[in-house]
């Protein structure tokens, strides 16, 4: 029931006096000019307030992007607009190759932590109105850049997973329908630590983590805290986990810079938790003296 032949056929058959490479380059140039013209036109068209975005660009495979650079986009401002909205606008209207992670748009998925005007923030949680223009958006510092605003997260995930981030009680109630009890107070104690969305902002902001690749980093230590402080956790696992976090590249590396606490979009008192674990480790070790 097709009524149309795919475009590609005719294109391939084009008689070409020039090499396909040259032709593509020429077309690319033309498109680029067109795009720039469109952008200029669009920028002119935009009535009222606009925001100027300066976005970090890099792509290992694309000519002209192999050397990192900043691109500017002018985006119409709307009340309530977030940095993520502005990026989406720039991508959909001006340059569809602009690449960044994002999904939930509501600060729960943790994919869009960027370095915005010099600070680690979630794009979706940052109101443009709160920022001074031009808004400079860069990928998270201290992480390798895969492309544009996308950074390599594997190291962060490895650190998160290295603290045995799972609940491991010594025993659970026999009856399938019987729950373990947890004091309200104890839940309050771990509550903030359970809010982490793995965005990596904290890790990116920590100079120690930048210098020492093996440092567990604030998020992973916070994850350990979440289980260590949970009264339902098993004693064996608690000890094992303590050993992990008090190893050489564990809690001791933290120099209480507080940047992690400052940038955490979920307001987790990370430094607080790290310090508490340091004291906990000292206490546990003193027992053996």
């Amino acid at each position: 029931m097709s009524t149309q032949t795919p475009d590609t056929d005719s294109e391939n058959e084009q008689p070409s006096s020039t090499s396909p490479q040259e032709r593509r380059m020429a077309e690319k140039q033309a498109r680029k000019e067109q795009r720039e013209a469109d952008e200029a036109a669009a920028a002119n068209e935009i009535q009222g307030e606009t925001v100027e975005l300066k976005v970090f660009r890099y792509d290992p495979e694309i000519e002209g992007k192999e050397e990192p650079r900043f691109d500017s986009f002018t985006v119409p401002f709307e009340k309530g607009m977030t940095v993520l909205d502005a990026l989406i606008y720039a991508r959909d209207e001006y340059d569809s190759s602009l690449t960044f992670r994002h999904s939930c748009r509501q600060a729960v998925c943790g994919s869009d932590a960027f370095f915005v005007n010099g600070s680690q923030r979630l794009g979706c949680q940052t109101q443009i109105a709160d920022l001074d223009g031009p808004v400079r958006v860069e990928p998270l510092p201290h992480q390798d850049v895969v492309k544009d605003l996308v950074v390599e997260m594997d190291h962060f995930y490895d650190q998160m997973e290295s603290v045995d981030p799972f609940f491991d009680p010594d025993e659970t109630p026999d009856d399938e329908l019987e729950e373990q009890r947890q004091d309200r107070e104890n839940r309050e104690k771990v509550k903030l630590s359970t809010r982490c969305i793995w965005c990596g902002a904290c890790m990116s902001s920590c100079n120690i983590a930048a210098g020492d690749n093996k440092y567990l980093g604030p998020a992973a230590i916070n994850k350990a805290y979440r289980f260590y402080m949970d009264e339902r956790e098993g004693e064996n696992k608690r000890q094992e986990r303590l050993e992990i976090i008090e190893a050489e590249h564990g809690v001791w590396r933290c120099q209480t810079q507080f940047s992690c606490t400052n940038v955490c979009p979920k307001d987790i008192p990370l430094t607080d938790h790290i310090q508490e674990l340091k004291r906990e480790a000292v206490k546990q070790n003193l027992k053996f003296w």
């Binding site: 890099y58 290992p60 495979e61 990192p68 010099g118 600070s119 510092p141 201290h142 390798d144 850049v145 895969v146 492309k147 950074v151 390599e152 100079n207 930048a210 120099q255 209480t256 810079q257 507080f258 940047s259 606490t261 400052n262 008192p269 430094t271 607080d272 310090q275 508490e276 340091k278 004291r279």
Partner: protein, 130 residues
Amino acid sequence: MSQSYDRGLIEDFGRWREFTAGMWAWVFHKFTGWVLIGYLFTHIAVLSTSMQGAKTFNSTIQGLESLALVRLLEVGLLAVAVFHILNGIRLLFVDLGVGLESQDKSFYASLVLTGIIVVASVPTFVSGAF
């Protein structure tokens, strides 16, 4: 694996403008700590002249103390030491988990106090040298 771009260390230092209180405290504390331990080494080296006898000791110390530069450096040392002490105390509190919410304020307080103490001590330190 795709390639990725490592922005390297330049990034960190390029970002000093964006540092927050806790980071500055860290930078200063580091710096002052290194100066202090450096000084400790020199200090002991200078004092070692006493092993050659009282004369050498006296002439070295007084010789040094008569130099305006040395006096100024001493003021610097005082500043460094006072900051390291005050921020050190701040850090001790942080380690005890006390007053974490006002860590930035206590850092600024250390800075200001250091300034006051140093300025107040200047007369004592430079008297007789100029």
